[in-house]
Amino acid sequence: MENRSSKARVNIADLAFRILAAICAVSIIAVMVAIALQLFAGSTLSMSEFGWRFLIDRSWNPVTGQFGAASSIYGTLVSTLIAMILAAPMALIIALFLVELSHPVLARIVGGAIELLAAIPSIIYGMWGLFVLAPIMQRSVEPWLQSLLGDIPIIRALFEGPPMGIGMLTAGIILALMILPFITAVTRDVLNMVPGVLKEAAHGFGATMWEVTRIVSIPYGIRGIVGAMFLGLGRAIGETMAVTFVIGNSHRISASLFEGGNSIASAIALEFGEAMNDPVFRSVLIELGLILFLITVIFQIVAQLWLVSLKKQGHR
Protein backbone atom coordinates (compact mmCIF):
# COMPACT_ATOMS: atom_id res chain seq x y z
CA MET A 1 0.00 0.00 0.00
CA GLU A 2 1.40 3.35 -0.82
CA ASN A 3 0.82 6.22 1.48
CA ARG A 4 -1.24 8.98 -0.03
CA SER A 5 -2.22 12.55 0.88
CA SER A 6 0.62 14.86 1.57
CA LYS A 7 0.00 17.27 4.39
CA ALA A 8 -0.10 20.30 2.13
CA ARG A 9 -2.75 18.97 -0.21
CA VAL A 10 -5.15 18.05 2.52
CA ASN A 11 -4.84 21.37 4.29
CA ILE A 12 -5.64 23.19 1.09
CA ALA A 13 -8.72 21.06 0.53
CA ASP A 14 -9.91 21.79 4.03
CA LEU A 15 -9.27 25.49 3.66
CA ALA A 16 -10.94 25.67 0.27
CA PHE A 17 -14.00 23.85 1.53
CA ARG A 18 -14.25 26.11 4.53
CA ILE A 19 -13.99 29.23 2.40
CA LEU A 20 -16.56 27.94 -0.07
CA ALA A 21 -19.00 27.19 2.72
CA ALA A 22 -18.40 30.61 4.24
CA ILE A 23 -19.03 32.32 0.92
CA CYS A 24 -22.33 30.49 0.54
CA ALA A 25 -23.40 31.49 4.02
CA VAL A 26 -22.44 35.10 3.46
CA SER A 27 -24.30 35.12 0.15
CA ILE A 28 -27.50 35.36 2.15
CA ILE A 29 -26.28 38.61 3.67
CA ALA A 30 -25.27 39.80 0.20
CA VAL A 31 -28.69 39.01 -1.24
CA MET A 32 -30.54 40.90 1.49
CA VAL A 33 -28.31 43.90 1.12
CA ALA A 34 -28.69 43.79 -2.66
CA ILE A 35 -32.46 43.67 -2.40
CA ALA A 36 -32.52 46.63 -0.07
CA LEU A 37 -30.19 48.63 -2.28
CA GLN A 38 -32.09 47.85 -5.49
CA LEU A 39 -35.41 48.76 -3.97
CA PHE A 40 -33.97 51.96 -2.67
CA ALA A 41 -32.31 52.84 -5.95
CA GLY A 42 -35.49 52.15 -7.89
CA SER A 43 -37.51 54.38 -5.58
CA THR A 44 -35.40 57.50 -5.80
CA LEU A 45 -37.29 58.85 -8.79
CA SER A 46 -40.61 58.49 -7.05
CA MET A 47 -39.22 59.84 -3.80
CA SER A 48 -37.87 62.95 -5.44
CA GLU A 49 -41.11 63.42 -7.31
CA PHE A 50 -43.54 63.00 -4.44
CA GLY A 51 -41.59 63.29 -1.22
CA TRP A 52 -43.09 62.34 2.11
CA ARG A 53 -46.61 63.30 1.02
CA PHE A 54 -46.56 60.07 -0.92
CA LEU A 55 -47.36 58.16 2.22
CA ILE A 56 -50.68 59.86 2.84
CA ASP A 57 -51.71 60.77 -0.68
CA ARG A 58 -54.86 58.98 -1.72
CA SER A 59 -54.71 59.73 -5.39
CA TRP A 60 -53.79 57.22 -8.02
CA ASN A 61 -53.87 58.25 -11.63
CA PRO A 62 -51.34 56.74 -14.03
CA VAL A 63 -52.55 58.98 -16.79
CA THR A 64 -51.91 62.26 -15.04
CA GLY A 65 -49.02 60.91 -13.06
CA GLN A 66 -50.58 61.44 -9.63
CA PHE A 67 -49.71 58.70 -7.21
CA GLY A 68 -50.01 58.08 -3.51
CA ALA A 69 -49.42 55.12 -1.26
CA ALA A 70 -52.25 55.74 1.15
CA SER A 71 -54.80 53.36 -0.33
CA SER A 72 -52.27 50.56 -0.66
CA ILE A 73 -50.99 50.94 2.87
CA TYR A 74 -54.52 51.16 4.15
CA GLY A 75 -55.54 48.04 2.24
CA THR A 76 -52.54 46.10 3.47
CA LEU A 77 -53.24 46.99 7.07
CA VAL A 78 -56.98 46.40 6.96
CA SER A 79 -56.84 43.06 5.17
CA THR A 80 -54.13 41.90 7.55
CA LEU A 81 -56.14 43.06 10.54
CA ILE A 82 -59.22 41.16 9.41
CA ALA A 83 -57.09 38.09 8.82
CA MET A 84 -55.56 38.24 12.28
CA ILE A 85 -58.91 38.83 14.00
CA LEU A 86 -60.29 35.76 12.30
CA ALA A 87 -57.28 33.50 12.36
CA ALA A 88 -55.64 34.14 15.72
CA PRO A 89 -58.37 32.95 18.07
CA MET A 90 -59.22 30.08 15.81
CA ALA A 91 -55.61 28.98 15.60
CA LEU A 92 -55.32 29.09 19.36
CA ILE A 93 -58.38 27.03 19.88
CA ILE A 94 -57.53 24.47 17.23
CA ALA A 95 -54.09 24.15 18.78
CA LEU A 96 -55.80 23.60 22.11
CA PHE A 97 -57.86 20.87 20.53
CA LEU A 98 -54.77 19.19 19.15
CA VAL A 99 -52.85 19.32 22.37
CA GLU A 100 -55.43 18.71 25.08
CA LEU A 101 -58.59 17.28 23.71
CA SER A 102 -58.10 14.97 20.86
CA HIS A 103 -57.03 11.38 20.75
CA PRO A 104 -53.34 11.22 19.79
CA VAL A 105 -54.12 9.51 16.50
CA LEU A 106 -56.71 12.12 15.62
CA ALA A 107 -54.26 14.83 16.61
CA ARG A 108 -51.76 13.47 14.15
CA ILE A 109 -54.34 13.30 11.37
CA VAL A 110 -55.65 16.78 12.00
CA GLY A 111 -52.12 18.03 12.47
CA GLY A 112 -51.19 16.49 9.16
CA ALA A 113 -54.17 18.14 7.51
CA ILE A 114 -53.05 21.49 8.91
CA GLU A 115 -49.59 20.97 7.45
CA LEU A 116 -51.15 20.11 4.09
CA LEU A 117 -53.17 23.32 4.18
CA ALA A 118 -49.95 25.19 4.77
CA ALA A 119 -48.33 23.59 1.75
CA ILE A 120 -51.00 24.62 -0.73
CA PRO A 121 -49.61 27.35 -2.98
CA SER A 122 -51.12 30.78 -2.49
CA ILE A 123 -52.35 31.06 -6.05
CA ILE A 124 -54.67 28.14 -5.38
CA TYR A 125 -56.15 30.04 -2.48
CA GLY A 126 -56.55 32.96 -4.87
CA MET A 127 -58.32 30.82 -7.45
CA TRP A 128 -60.60 29.32 -4.88
CA GLY A 129 -61.25 32.70 -3.36
CA LEU A 130 -62.20 34.24 -6.70
CA PHE A 131 -64.30 31.44 -8.13
CA VAL A 132 -65.79 29.78 -5.10
CA LEU A 133 -65.72 32.05 -2.08
CA ALA A 134 -66.44 35.37 -3.78
CA PRO A 135 -69.75 34.25 -5.33
CA ILE A 136 -70.83 32.82 -1.98
CA MET A 137 -69.88 36.04 -0.27
CA GLN A 138 -71.83 38.00 -2.83
CA ARG A 139 -74.92 35.84 -2.83
CA SER A 140 -75.22 34.83 0.78
CA VAL A 141 -72.73 36.03 3.35
CA GLU A 142 -72.56 39.70 2.63
CA PRO A 143 -76.32 40.22 2.35
CA TRP A 144 -76.72 38.30 5.59
CA LEU A 145 -74.16 40.49 7.34
CA GLN A 146 -75.92 43.54 6.05
CA SER A 147 -79.27 42.45 7.32
CA LEU A 148 -77.80 41.45 10.68
CA LEU A 149 -75.67 44.47 11.38
CA GLY A 150 -77.03 47.04 8.97
CA ASP A 151 -78.98 48.92 11.59
CA ILE A 152 -76.30 49.25 14.24
CA PRO A 153 -74.87 52.74 14.03
CA ILE A 154 -71.16 53.07 13.30
CA ILE A 155 -70.71 49.34 12.67
CA ARG A 156 -73.05 49.50 9.72
CA ALA A 157 -70.54 51.67 7.90
CA LEU A 158 -68.38 48.59 7.64
CA PHE A 159 -71.00 46.72 5.72
CA GLU A 160 -72.42 49.33 3.42
CA GLY A 161 -72.75 49.19 -0.30
CA PRO A 162 -73.78 46.52 -2.78
CA PRO A 163 -72.40 43.08 -2.07
CA MET A 164 -69.88 42.30 -4.77
CA GLY A 165 -68.13 39.31 -3.34
CA ILE A 166 -64.77 40.78 -4.17
CA GLY A 167 -63.46 43.21 -1.66
CA MET A 168 -61.64 43.83 1.58
CA LEU A 169 -63.65 41.37 3.63
CA THR A 170 -63.18 38.47 1.23
CA ALA A 171 -59.50 39.26 0.98
CA GLY A 172 -59.28 39.21 4.76
CA ILE A 173 -61.02 35.85 4.94
CA ILE A 174 -58.75 34.27 2.35
CA LEU A 175 -55.72 35.65 4.13
CA ALA A 176 -57.03 34.23 7.39
CA LEU A 177 -57.30 30.81 5.77
CA MET A 178 -53.76 31.12 4.54
CA ILE A 179 -52.12 32.04 7.81
CA LEU A 180 -54.32 29.82 9.98
CA PRO A 181 -52.32 26.62 9.43
CA PHE A 182 -49.05 28.35 10.18
CA ILE A 183 -50.14 29.99 13.42
CA THR A 184 -51.92 26.80 14.50
CA ALA A 185 -48.82 24.69 13.98
CA VAL A 186 -46.53 27.03 15.88
CA THR A 187 -49.04 27.50 18.72
CA ARG A 188 -49.48 23.77 18.96
CA ASP A 189 -45.73 23.35 19.32
CA VAL A 190 -45.67 26.02 22.02
CA LEU A 191 -48.48 24.39 23.99
CA ASN A 192 -46.79 21.02 23.66
CA MET A 193 -43.78 22.45 25.42
CA VAL A 194 -45.67 23.10 28.62
CA PRO A 195 -44.23 20.58 31.09
CA GLY A 196 -46.64 17.80 31.90
CA VAL A 197 -45.91 18.13 35.59
CA LEU A 198 -47.27 21.65 35.71
CA LYS A 199 -50.52 20.60 34.11
CA GLU A 200 -50.80 17.57 36.34
CA ALA A 201 -50.30 19.73 39.38
CA ALA A 202 -53.14 21.99 38.27
CA HIS A 203 -55.41 19.07 37.45
CA GLY A 204 -54.57 17.69 40.84
CA PHE A 205 -56.31 20.68 42.38
CA GLY A 206 -59.49 19.77 40.62
CA ALA A 207 -59.35 22.25 37.76
CA THR A 208 -61.20 21.74 34.50
CA MET A 209 -59.28 21.42 31.27
CA TRP A 210 -60.05 24.99 30.27
CA GLU A 211 -59.00 26.27 33.66
CA VAL A 212 -55.70 24.44 33.45
CA THR A 213 -55.16 25.89 30.01
CA ARG A 214 -56.15 29.36 31.10
CA ILE A 215 -54.16 29.37 34.33
CA VAL A 216 -51.12 27.29 33.43
CA SER A 217 -50.57 26.62 29.74
CA ILE A 218 -51.35 29.97 28.22
CA PRO A 219 -49.35 32.05 30.70
CA TYR A 220 -46.46 29.62 30.40
CA GLY A 221 -46.51 29.74 26.64
CA ILE A 222 -47.77 33.27 26.17
CA ARG A 223 -44.54 34.58 24.76
CA GLY A 224 -44.32 31.78 22.23
CA ILE A 225 -47.96 32.28 21.30
CA VAL A 226 -47.40 35.97 20.76
CA GLY A 227 -44.36 35.09 18.69
CA ALA A 228 -46.53 32.83 16.57
CA MET A 229 -48.98 35.66 16.04
CA PHE A 230 -46.15 37.94 15.01
CA LEU A 231 -44.93 35.47 12.45
CA GLY A 232 -48.42 34.99 11.09
CA LEU A 233 -48.87 38.72 10.82
CA GLY A 234 -45.60 39.02 8.97
CA ARG A 235 -46.78 36.50 6.45
CA ALA A 236 -50.15 38.10 5.95
CA ILE A 237 -48.64 41.49 5.23
CA GLY A 238 -46.64 40.27 2.29
CA GLU A 239 -49.05 37.76 0.85
CA THR A 240 -49.61 38.53 -2.80
CA MET A 241 -51.45 36.05 -4.97
CA ALA A 242 -54.25 35.08 -2.66
CA VAL A 243 -55.10 38.70 -2.03
CA THR A 244 -54.64 39.92 -5.60
CA PHE A 245 -57.41 37.74 -6.92
CA VAL A 246 -60.08 38.96 -4.55
CA ILE A 247 -59.25 42.39 -3.30
CA GLY A 248 -60.53 44.25 -6.30
CA ASN A 249 -57.74 46.55 -7.44
CA SER A 250 -59.30 49.83 -6.56
CA HIS A 251 -57.31 52.71 -5.14
CA ARG A 252 -60.09 54.21 -3.11
CA ILE A 253 -60.18 54.18 0.63
CA SER A 254 -63.60 53.48 1.98
CA ALA A 255 -64.90 52.38 5.31
CA SER A 256 -67.00 49.56 3.97
CA LEU A 257 -65.43 46.13 3.92
CA PHE A 258 -67.54 45.21 0.98
CA GLU A 259 -65.67 47.68 -1.15
CA GLY A 260 -62.65 46.78 -3.17
CA GLY A 261 -59.25 48.11 -2.39
CA ASN A 262 -55.70 47.10 -2.91
CA SER A 263 -52.71 46.05 -0.91
CA ILE A 264 -49.13 47.00 -1.65
CA ALA A 265 -48.40 43.51 -2.90
CA SER A 266 -51.51 43.32 -5.06
CA ALA A 267 -50.86 46.75 -6.55
CA ILE A 268 -47.38 45.73 -7.60
CA ALA A 269 -48.59 42.43 -9.00
CA LEU A 270 -51.42 43.89 -11.00
CA GLU A 271 -49.91 47.11 -12.24
CA PHE A 272 -46.25 46.42 -12.75
CA GLY A 273 -46.96 45.23 -16.26
CA GLU A 274 -48.44 48.59 -17.21
CA ALA A 275 -45.77 50.46 -15.38
CA MET A 276 -42.80 48.91 -17.04
CA ASN A 277 -42.52 51.55 -19.71
CA ASP A 278 -43.33 54.50 -17.52
CA PRO A 279 -40.33 55.40 -15.39
CA VAL A 280 -42.29 57.38 -12.82
CA PHE A 281 -45.05 54.81 -12.48
CA ARG A 282 -42.45 52.08 -12.21
CA SER A 283 -40.55 53.96 -9.56
CA VAL A 284 -43.78 54.51 -7.64
CA LEU A 285 -44.44 50.78 -7.55
CA ILE A 286 -40.89 50.09 -6.48
CA GLU A 287 -41.25 52.63 -3.72
CA LEU A 288 -44.37 50.79 -2.59
CA GLY A 289 -42.22 47.68 -2.61
CA LEU A 290 -39.63 49.45 -0.51
CA ILE A 291 -42.28 50.43 2.02
CA LEU A 292 -43.47 46.83 2.18
CA PHE A 293 -39.88 45.65 2.54
CA LEU A 294 -39.23 48.02 5.42
CA ILE A 295 -42.44 47.00 7.18
CA THR A 296 -41.50 43.34 6.77
CA VAL A 297 -37.94 43.77 7.96
CA ILE A 298 -38.95 45.77 11.02
CA PHE A 299 -41.48 43.08 11.75
CA GLN A 300 -38.88 40.37 11.47
CA ILE A 301 -36.50 42.25 13.75
CA VAL A 302 -39.17 42.68 16.40
CA ALA A 303 -40.37 39.09 16.07
CA GLN A 304 -36.88 37.62 16.22
CA LEU A 305 -35.78 39.74 19.13
CA TRP A 306 -38.93 38.64 20.91
CA LEU A 307 -38.17 35.01 20.23
CA VAL A 308 -34.59 35.42 21.35
CA SER A 309 -35.73 36.86 24.66
CA LEU A 310 -37.97 33.81 24.85
CA LYS A 311 -35.02 31.47 24.52
CA LYS A 312 -33.20 33.31 27.25
CA GLN A 313 -36.13 32.63 29.51
CA GLY A 314 -35.68 28.95 28.88
CA HIS A 315 -38.74 28.45 26.73
CA ARG A 316 -38.48 27.66 23.02
Binding site: M1, E2, N3, R4, S5, K7, V10
Partner: protein
Protein backbone atom coordinates in the same frame (compact mmCIF):
# COMPACT_ATOMS: atom_id res chain seq x y z
CA UNK B 1 7.01 6.54 58.25
CA UNK B 2 4.02 4.38 57.48
CA UNK B 3 2.03 2.91 60.30
CA UNK B 4 1.10 -0.70 60.04
CA UNK B 5 -2.10 -0.68 57.97
CA UNK B 6 -4.70 -3.27 58.82
CA UNK B 7 -6.37 -2.13 55.60
CA UNK B 8 -3.70 -3.92 53.61
CA UNK B 9 -5.49 -7.19 54.00
CA UNK B 10 -8.77 -5.52 53.19
CA UNK B 11 -7.38 -4.10 49.95
CA UNK B 12 -6.17 -7.45 48.81
CA UNK B 13 -9.62 -8.90 49.27
CA UNK B 14 -11.47 -6.08 47.57
CA UNK B 15 -9.71 -5.96 44.27
CA UNK B 16 -7.97 -8.88 42.72
CA UNK B 17 -5.05 -8.24 40.49
CA UNK B 18 -4.43 -11.46 38.52
CA UNK B 19 -1.00 -12.91 39.29
CA UNK B 20 0.24 -12.76 35.69
CA UNK B 21 -1.02 -9.30 35.21
CA UNK B 22 0.37 -6.02 36.34
CA UNK B 23 3.94 -5.07 35.69
CA UNK B 24 6.56 -5.65 38.27
CA UNK B 25 7.66 -2.55 40.07
CA UNK B 26 11.31 -3.09 39.13
CA UNK B 27 10.59 -3.17 35.41
CA UNK B 28 9.34 0.36 35.21
CA UNK B 29 12.56 2.06 34.36
CA UNK B 30 13.70 -0.44 31.77
CA UNK B 31 10.61 -0.56 29.60
CA UNK B 32 10.45 1.88 26.70
CA UNK B 33 7.93 4.74 27.08
CA UNK B 34 5.72 5.46 24.15
CA UNK B 35 4.30 8.74 25.46
CA UNK B 36 5.94 10.98 28.03
CA UNK B 37 3.82 13.81 29.41
CA UNK B 38 5.17 16.77 31.37
CA UNK B 39 3.54 19.94 32.67
CA UNK B 40 0.27 19.34 30.89
CA UNK B 41 -2.39 21.96 31.61
CA UNK B 42 -5.80 22.06 29.98
CA UNK B 43 -8.35 24.86 29.79
CA UNK B 44 -12.01 25.11 28.88
CA UNK B 45 -12.13 28.78 28.05
CA UNK B 46 -10.78 30.44 31.18
CA UNK B 47 -11.36 27.49 33.46
CA UNK B 48 -8.40 25.22 34.07
CA UNK B 49 -9.28 21.56 34.35
CA UNK B 50 -5.94 19.73 34.16
CA UNK B 51 -3.09 20.80 36.40
CA UNK B 52 0.52 19.95 35.69
CA UNK B 53 -0.11 16.37 34.57
CA UNK B 54 2.97 14.16 34.26
CA UNK B 55 2.86 10.51 33.22
CA UNK B 56 4.73 7.92 31.16
CA UNK B 57 2.73 5.57 28.96
CA UNK B 58 4.74 2.40 28.43
CA UNK B 59 4.97 0.86 25.00
CA UNK B 60 2.89 -2.25 24.39
CA UNK B 61 1.33 -2.11 27.78
CA UNK B 62 -2.11 -1.18 28.99
CA UNK B 63 -2.21 1.93 31.16
CA UNK B 64 -5.46 2.50 32.99
CA UNK B 65 -6.62 5.89 34.18
CA UNK B 66 -9.07 5.78 37.04
CA UNK B 67 -10.76 8.36 39.20
CA UNK B 68 -14.19 9.75 40.12
CA UNK B 69 -16.40 11.29 37.44
CA UNK B 70 -15.46 14.70 36.23
CA UNK B 71 -11.87 14.48 37.41
CA UNK B 72 -10.34 15.00 34.00
CA UNK B 73 -9.57 11.45 32.87
CA UNK B 74 -11.23 11.75 29.47
CA UNK B 75 -9.95 15.27 29.00
CA UNK B 76 -6.43 13.99 29.60
CA UNK B 77 -6.40 11.25 27.00
CA UNK B 78 -8.16 13.43 24.46
CA UNK B 79 -4.99 15.48 24.43
CA UNK B 80 -3.06 12.57 22.95
CA UNK B 81 -4.84 12.84 19.60
CA UNK B 82 -5.72 16.52 19.95
CA UNK B 83 -9.35 15.73 19.26
CA UNK B 84 -10.24 18.65 21.50
CA UNK B 85 -9.22 20.97 18.68
CA UNK B 86 -12.66 20.41 17.19
CA UNK B 87 -13.91 22.78 19.90
CA UNK B 88 -12.89 26.37 19.81
CA UNK B 89 -12.38 27.28 23.44
CA UNK B 90 -10.41 24.22 24.55
CA UNK B 91 -6.67 24.56 24.95
CA UNK B 92 -3.73 22.45 26.08
CA UNK B 93 -0.25 23.58 27.09
CA UNK B 94 2.77 21.55 28.07
CA UNK B 95 4.72 18.66 26.67
CA UNK B 96 3.31 15.45 25.26
CA UNK B 97 6.27 13.63 23.76
CA UNK B 98 5.64 10.68 21.53
CA UNK B 99 8.72 9.07 19.98
CA UNK B 100 10.70 12.16 20.79
CA UNK B 101 8.32 14.70 19.24
CA UNK B 102 6.02 17.05 21.15
CA UNK B 103 2.48 16.37 19.95
CA UNK B 104 1.33 19.76 21.14
CA UNK B 105 3.76 21.66 18.94
CA UNK B 106 1.90 24.11 16.69
CA UNK B 107 3.06 22.83 13.31
CA UNK B 108 2.15 19.23 13.99
CA UNK B 109 0.25 17.45 11.26
CA UNK B 110 -2.94 16.40 12.96
CA UNK B 111 -3.88 13.91 10.29
CA UNK B 112 -0.63 12.00 10.59
CA UNK B 113 -0.94 12.15 14.37
CA UNK B 114 -4.44 10.75 14.35
CA UNK B 115 -3.41 7.93 12.13
CA UNK B 116 -0.93 6.90 14.77
CA UNK B 117 -3.29 7.40 17.69
CA UNK B 118 -6.64 5.69 17.44
CA UNK B 119 -9.66 6.33 19.64
CA UNK B 120 -12.59 4.29 20.90
CA UNK B 121 -15.49 6.09 22.53
CA UNK B 122 -17.83 5.21 25.33
CA UNK B 123 -20.82 5.02 23.06
CA UNK B 124 -20.10 2.85 19.99
CA UNK B 125 -19.96 5.08 16.92
CA UNK B 126 -20.35 2.98 13.78
CA UNK B 127 -20.60 5.10 10.67
CA UNK B 128 -23.89 4.88 8.77
CA UNK B 129 -22.45 2.39 6.29
CA UNK B 130 -21.91 -1.31 5.90
CA UNK B 131 -19.57 -3.24 8.19
CA UNK B 132 -17.05 -3.52 5.41
CA UNK B 133 -17.22 0.18 4.59
CA UNK B 134 -16.77 1.06 8.24
CA UNK B 135 -13.53 -0.84 8.56
CA UNK B 136 -12.35 0.25 5.13
CA UNK B 137 -12.96 3.94 5.81
CA UNK B 138 -9.67 4.69 7.54
CA UNK B 139 -7.73 2.55 5.10
CA UNK B 140 -9.14 4.43 2.16
CA UNK B 141 -8.33 7.73 3.79
CA UNK B 142 -4.65 7.10 4.23
CA UNK B 143 -3.71 4.57 1.57
CA UNK B 144 -4.21 3.98 -2.10
CA UNK B 145 -5.15 0.36 -1.81
CA UNK B 146 -6.37 -2.20 -4.30
CA UNK B 147 -9.68 -3.93 -3.81
CA UNK B 148 -7.99 -7.26 -3.13
CA UNK B 149 -5.74 -5.82 -0.48
CA UNK B 150 -8.62 -3.91 1.07
CA UNK B 151 -10.60 -7.10 1.51
CA UNK B 152 -7.61 -8.82 3.11
CA UNK B 153 -6.93 -5.99 5.52
CA UNK B 154 -10.56 -5.63 6.51
CA UNK B 155 -10.67 -9.35 7.28
CA UNK B 156 -7.47 -9.10 9.29
CA UNK B 157 -8.75 -6.16 11.31
CA UNK B 158 -12.06 -7.88 12.01
CA UNK B 159 -10.20 -10.99 13.12
CA UNK B 160 -7.93 -9.03 15.43
CA UNK B 161 -11.01 -7.38 16.88
CA UNK B 162 -12.63 -10.78 17.50
CA UNK B 163 -15.57 -9.91 15.29
CA UNK B 164 -14.78 -11.78 12.07
CA UNK B 165 -16.55 -15.02 12.90
CA UNK B 166 -19.76 -13.23 13.72
CA UNK B 167 -20.00 -11.05 10.64
CA UNK B 168 -18.04 -12.82 7.92
CA UNK B 169 -21.17 -13.89 6.07
CA UNK B 170 -22.74 -10.49 5.88
CA UNK B 171 -20.19 -7.74 5.59
CA UNK B 172 -22.68 -5.68 3.63
CA UNK B 173 -24.99 -5.34 6.58
CA UNK B 174 -25.22 -1.88 8.08
CA UNK B 175 -22.91 -1.27 11.01
CA UNK B 176 -25.87 0.13 12.89
CA UNK B 177 -27.67 -3.20 12.76
CA UNK B 178 -25.17 -4.90 15.09
CA UNK B 179 -25.57 -5.30 18.82
CA UNK B 180 -23.88 -2.81 21.14
CA UNK B 181 -20.96 -5.09 21.90
CA UNK B 182 -20.49 -5.94 18.24
CA UNK B 183 -20.63 -2.28 17.31
CA UNK B 184 -17.88 -1.52 19.75
CA UNK B 185 -15.72 -4.29 18.35
CA UNK B 186 -16.45 -2.91 14.90
CA UNK B 187 -15.14 0.45 16.04
CA UNK B 188 -12.03 -1.28 17.37
CA UNK B 189 -11.56 -3.10 14.06
CA UNK B 190 -11.96 0.23 12.29
CA UNK B 191 -9.32 1.81 14.48
CA UNK B 192 -6.74 -0.96 14.20
CA UNK B 193 -7.18 -1.30 10.44
CA UNK B 194 -4.96 1.76 9.99
CA UNK B 195 -2.28 0.23 12.23
CA UNK B 196 -1.95 2.92 14.86
CA UNK B 197 0.78 2.88 17.49
CA UNK B 198 -1.49 3.88 20.34
CA UNK B 199 -5.14 3.13 21.02
CA UNK B 200 -7.07 5.39 23.38
CA UNK B 201 -10.11 3.82 24.96
CA UNK B 202 -12.51 6.10 26.79
CA UNK B 203 -14.74 3.86 28.94
CA UNK B 204 -15.18 1.45 26.03
CA UNK B 205 -17.34 -1.05 27.88
CA UNK B 206 -19.44 1.16 30.14
CA UNK B 207 -22.39 1.13 27.74
CA UNK B 208 -22.28 -2.65 27.31
CA UNK B 209 -23.70 -5.64 29.17
CA UNK B 210 -21.35 -7.87 31.25
CA UNK B 211 -20.93 -10.52 28.54
CA UNK B 212 -19.98 -7.95 25.94
CA UNK B 213 -17.76 -6.21 28.48
CA UNK B 214 -15.72 -9.29 29.18
CA UNK B 215 -15.25 -9.84 25.45
CA UNK B 216 -13.88 -6.33 25.15
CA UNK B 217 -11.56 -6.90 28.09
CA UNK B 218 -10.20 -10.09 26.58
CA UNK B 219 -9.73 -8.21 23.36
CA UNK B 220 -7.75 -5.51 25.12
CA UNK B 221 -5.38 -8.08 26.53
CA UNK B 222 -4.74 -9.58 23.14
CA UNK B 223 -4.28 -6.20 21.48
CA UNK B 224 -1.52 -5.37 23.93
CA UNK B 225 0.97 -7.28 21.86
CA UNK B 226 0.78 -4.94 18.91
CA UNK B 227 -0.45 -1.69 20.38
CA UNK B 228 0.03 0.65 23.30
CA UNK B 229 -3.28 1.05 25.03
CA UNK B 230 -4.48 3.85 27.29
CA UNK B 231 -7.73 3.00 29.01
CA UNK B 232 -10.01 5.36 30.88
CA UNK B 233 -12.41 3.54 33.16
CA UNK B 234 -14.52 4.24 36.21
CA UNK B 235 -14.62 0.49 36.90
CA UNK B 236 -11.76 -0.29 39.23
CA UNK B 237 -12.14 -4.03 38.94
CA UNK B 238 -11.74 -3.66 35.21
CA UNK B 239 -8.59 -1.60 35.65
CA UNK B 240 -7.17 -4.18 38.01
CA UNK B 241 -8.07 -7.08 35.73
CA UNK B 242 -6.76 -5.70 32.55
CA UNK B 243 -4.06 -3.08 32.98
CA UNK B 244 -0.34 -3.10 33.61
CA UNK B 245 -0.06 0.41 34.94
CA UNK B 246 -2.64 2.59 36.61
CA UNK B 247 -2.90 6.32 37.15
CA UNK B 248 -5.27 7.76 39.71
CA UNK B 249 -6.75 11.10 38.77
CA UNK B 250 -8.44 13.48 41.13
CA UNK B 251 -9.70 16.98 40.33
CA UNK B 252 -7.51 17.38 37.30
CA UNK B 253 -4.31 16.13 38.89
CA UNK B 254 -2.53 12.82 38.69
CA UNK B 255 -2.41 11.84 42.33
CA UNK B 256 -0.52 8.60 41.89
CA UNK B 257 0.85 6.53 39.05
CA UNK B 258 2.51 3.15 39.07
CA UNK B 259 2.24 -0.53 38.33
CA UNK B 260 -1.34 -1.72 38.78
CA UNK B 261 -0.45 -4.28 41.42
CA UNK B 262 1.21 -1.65 43.52
CA UNK B 263 -1.61 0.88 43.18
CA UNK B 264 -4.24 -1.58 44.22
CA UNK B 265 -2.36 -3.26 47.07
CA UNK B 266 0.03 -0.66 48.45
CA UNK B 267 -0.97 2.80 47.30
CA UNK B 268 1.30 5.49 48.63
CA UNK B 269 -1.22 8.34 48.66
CA UNK B 270 -4.09 8.45 51.09
CA UNK B 271 -6.43 9.80 48.43
CA UNK B 272 -5.71 6.81 46.23
CA UNK B 273 -6.38 4.48 49.06
CA UNK B 274 -9.61 6.22 49.93
CA UNK B 275 -10.83 5.99 46.36
CA UNK B 276 -9.89 2.36 45.97
CA UNK B 277 -11.58 1.35 49.16
CA UNK B 278 -14.67 3.13 48.10
CA UNK B 279 -14.63 5.95 50.60
CA UNK B 280 -15.56 8.40 47.87
CA UNK B 281 -16.12 8.65 44.15
Amino acid sequence: MHEEKPQETVLQHRIEVPPDRGAKVEDFGSLPSKIVVRNLDFFYGRQQVLFDNAIEIKKNRITAIIGPSGCGKSTHIRVYNRIYELYRDQRATGEVMMDGENLLAPGRDLIKLRKRVGMIFQKPTPFPMSIFENVAYGLRLHYAVSRRELIDRVEEALKDAALWEEVRDDLGKSGLALSGGQQQRLCIARAIAVEPDVILMDEPASALDPAATSKIEDLMSSLREKYTIVLVTHNMQQAARVSDYTAFFYQGRIVEFGPTRQIFTKPTEKQTEDYITGRFG
